[in-house]
């Protein structure tokens, strides 16, 4: 079970991530996008879920990543991602509730370039009972 003290807290990722053009090209190829000058709107999931998982895997947070199902996903894009961009990622546990024994957690991830947020995303994750 999630540690209730974790709700509302923001956890900063330790490492910065640089997006390569080849990662964007590979993502575009799968969906048939020929304009690879900026990343498709959902590309950042590649960064944010991995970062959130690494940031929020601390046992003190109490989130069981092995039984997670993705419930919904939302993106707010302030500045489209380009090859060569470097970001730091922070993850915030915005909301938490238990329904029918399932834990439902909303994690917000911010990709920041310096102090400016380039992209925020919200993932609702369901930990199955």
């Amino acid at each position: 079970m999630l540690n209730p003290d974790s709700v509302g807290r923001t956890f900063e990722g330790a490492n910065s991530i640089t997006v390569t053009q080849s990662e964007i090209d590979a993502f575009c190829a799968v969906i048939g996008e020929t304009n690879t000058s900026v990343a498709p709107p959902t590309f950042s999931i590649r960064i944010s879920l991995e970062q959130s998982q690494s940031i929020l895997s601390d046992p003190s947070i109490g989130l069981d990543w092995t039984r997670l199902v993705h419930g919904d996903q939302k993106f707010e894009i302030f500045s489209p991602i380009k090859g060569g961009d470097t970001f730091t990622c922070s993850s915030t546990i915005e909301n938490y509730r238990v329904a029918a024994g399932n834990e439902i957690v909303t994690v917000r991830s911010d990709l920041k370039s310096g102090s400016a947020i380039a992209l925020s995303s919200w993932s609702t994750l369901v930990v199955r009972a």
Partner: protein, 131 residues
């Protein structure tokens, strides 16, 4: 015409096991429920299912095509209500449609619908684009 209630032309994407493997490699999501039928059945799924984020990426392609490019999309969200089921050696359809639900100064909101095998797979799917 860009006005509230106007429908965009429908588009149908094809999803198959090869695409799931390609998406797994491009996204880094190698969860076996999207590639291994035996594993998918063992956890109670009807068959291999597509990544919800692959469905969202394809619907996103529909949005960016209409928006004139990825850089024109400012908001995009959806709920995963039903899985896209992908049997072996089968091309599965994903049919995407949209209706304009709001027009404001410089931005248009699309209400999106995605259907596979007659089942609505995304809920509350919306995108806001600069137009």
């Amino acid at each position: 015409m860009i006005e509230v209630g106007a429908a965009l032309p429908t588009h149908t994407f094809t999803i198959n096991r090869e695409l799931l493997k390609a998406y797994a490699d491009a996204s880094g999501d190698q969860n076996p429920i999207h590639q291994n039928e035996e594993f998918a059945l063992s956890v109670g799924l009807p068959n291999v299912i597509a990544h919800g984020m692959l469905t969202m990426a394809l619907v996103g392609k529909f949005v960016t095509d209409w928006a004139g490019g990825s850089s024109n999309v400012t908001h995009y969200g959806a709920r995963f209500i039903k899985p896209v089921i992908v049997p072996a050696n089968t091309d599965v359809d994903l049919t995407v449609s949209a209706v304009i639900s709001a027009v404001e100064d410089g931005s248009v909101t699309l209400d999106l619908t995605a259907i596979s095998a007659g089942v609505k797979v995304l809920g509350m799917a919306k995108a806001v684009v600069k137009k």
